[in-house]
Symmetry: C2
Subunit: 137 residues, 2 copies
DNA sequence: CTGATTGCAAAAATTTTGCAAGCCT
DNA sequence: AGGCTTGCAAAATTTTTGCAATCAG
């Protein structure tokens, strides 16, 4: 029943199948940073016969459609996140802690780059790396 | 001969061995976005007997020391980049093209976050996702 | 000297592929 | 009906681990 992104899949000419819906729902209901394995687990809770390979294939499809985006999140390795909008992390190089924040000074730059380079921008990721309070000194 | 980062390794109490120097040199001389396999190849050119496992172990060490940083770069998968400073990419969701840009409006935010959350920030990554000129439509 | 570090080879984990069967439109 | 999709199992990759030998400090 996920209208937003499901629509995008269909509009692009792909079939909206139960396995794909399950993956979409899993992504939309999760915490926004799921490893492929977590997506599989979550999606299997919705559609039990779902296979690993289908998850990878669907994630690739969704990535190409710009719905989802793989990022590398400290300690957890490759994770998937919804591509739309912004994602802001502060990551500790030492312990791998991830803190999210809201401020984001990039909208002007986004617009400028979009025009200058003729890119249609859909989302962004801003990450700072360093040492958290505990890991300093 | 690599003074900067080599020093950091030693200061942190780790031995500065030829394999580690080779990996560091490989990273410093590359194009700033190398997969582990590329790092291995480049470092082996410097120190032929270097083993795969040592590269992974060294990359982990350098990551924990905040010298290097793994990121996920469209199409190429996990890549390593020097953590210091900023990295700015515009990535096409469809074809995976990566364009770099220089403008960066985050220094103020960086300072503010550093103070507010007591983080010692060393570098950042700013990526925009979207469709490049060729892939639109 | 001596413990940290390495390379090798094997083990794990992750991701991709081939294909017949099944499902969506 | 027809072709895109799927799940399974196997292959290919990628990353991690165990250990004896070696090396940096």
């Amino acid at each position: 029943m996920e209208t937003r992104h499901a629509k995008t899949v269909q509009t692009a000419g792909f079939k909206l199948t139960p396995p794909r819906q399950a993956v979409l729902t899993a992504l939309e209901s999760g915490d926004d940073h799921m490893t492929p394995a977590e997506v599989l687990a979550r999606a299997q809770a919705i559609y039990p016969s779902l296979g690993r390979a289908t998850v990878y294939r669907t994630l690739e499809l969704l990535t190409n459609l710009g719905i989802v985006r793989p990022i590398f999140l400290g300690e957890r390795g490759v994770c998937l996140t919804l591509a739309e909008g912004g994602h802001h992390h502060l990551i500790c190089s030492d312990c791998g802690a991830v803190v999210e924040f809201d401020e984001c000074p990039v909208s002007e730059l986004e617009q400028e780059l979009a025009e200058r380079l003729n890119f249609q921008i859909r989302g962004h990721l801003l990450e700072f790396y360093g040492l958290c309070a505990q890991c300093q000194g």
